[in-house]
């Protein structure tokens, strides 16, 4: 166990609470990822870790380094900003890829396309290719 930096008590309690809350959020998200049944259900819980988990732990880091150096330290916000911006993009792309794969395989659980001829491997006319 590494000894933590020497902060005043109020800062230590706040940093510890924020870090534990963020880690608990991430743990909840991972348990959800483990337990949910279908892929489209499993897309949702990891965002708990990448939104609120990241925000809380980054807030703990900002508070800790601001108190340690006695000046505002905001460079950790870069991580929160970046993760918050990129997670929706990646999960949208992943969900679209999974939907495409399920449709190509003719899986009955996903909603069908209006234009069935857009799918390869099935009867389609030349205009859609």
């Amino acid at each position: 166990m590494i000894e933590a930096p020497n902060l005043p008590l109020w800062a230590a309690i706040m940093v510890g609470t924020l870090a534990i809350a963020g880690a608990a959020m991430t743990l909840l998200g991972s348990i959800g990822l483990l337990r949910f049944k279908t892929f489209y259900d499993r897309l949702h819980p990891p965002t708990l870790g990448s939104s609120s988990g990241t925000l809380l732990i980054v807030a703990a880091s900002v508070l800790c380094f601001s108190v340690l150096r006695s000046r505002l330290s905001v460079h950790e916000i870069l991580i929160a900003l970046f993760v918050t911006l990129t997670t929706p993009v990646t999960f949208m792309l992943l969900a679209r890829a999974a939907l495409y794969r399920d449709r190509v395989e003719g899986n009955e659980d996903v909603p069908r396309l209006e234009a069935q001829e857009a799918l390869p491997g099935q009867s389609h006319d030349d205009s859609s290719a």
């Binding site: 166990m1 590494i2 000894e3 933590a4 930096p5 020497n6 902060l7 005043p8 008590l9 800062a11 230590a12 309690i13 940093v15 510890g16 609470t17 870090a19 534990i20 963020g22 880690a23 608990a24 991430t26 743990l27 998200g29 991972s30 348990i31 990822l33 483990l34 892929f39 499993r42 897309l43 990891p46 870790g49 990448s50 988990g53 990241t54 732990i57 980054v58 703990a60 880091s61 800790c64 380094f65 340690l68 460079h75 950790e76 870069l78 991580i79 970046f82 993760v83 990129t86 997670t87 993009v89 990646t90 999960f91 792309l93 992943l94 679209r96 890829a97 999974a98 495409y100 794969r101």
Partner: protein, 93 residues
Amino acid sequence: MSLSVLTWALSLAQVMLGLSLICVTYRIVTGPRAQDRVLGLDSLYICAMLMLVVFGIQTGRTLYFEAALIIALLGFTSTLALAKFLMRGEIIE
């Protein structure tokens, strides 16, 4: 007093993040399809990045912040490339 509070709190946070890493790794190993494994990889790098940030708080150095930023950047790219690969079958067309 405040020293032990912060030490125990950060250790507890690290144990929680380690447990979530185990959950995510289980999903990567057993995930029934490729998209589940990609999703698990995405959550894995988020958990590892948060672990590094907590480690940075614990040691009081900014070195770990830079490592966490690089993990966030490259993890985004890797998930994007894998999603594109699942969609198209190739990455650079």
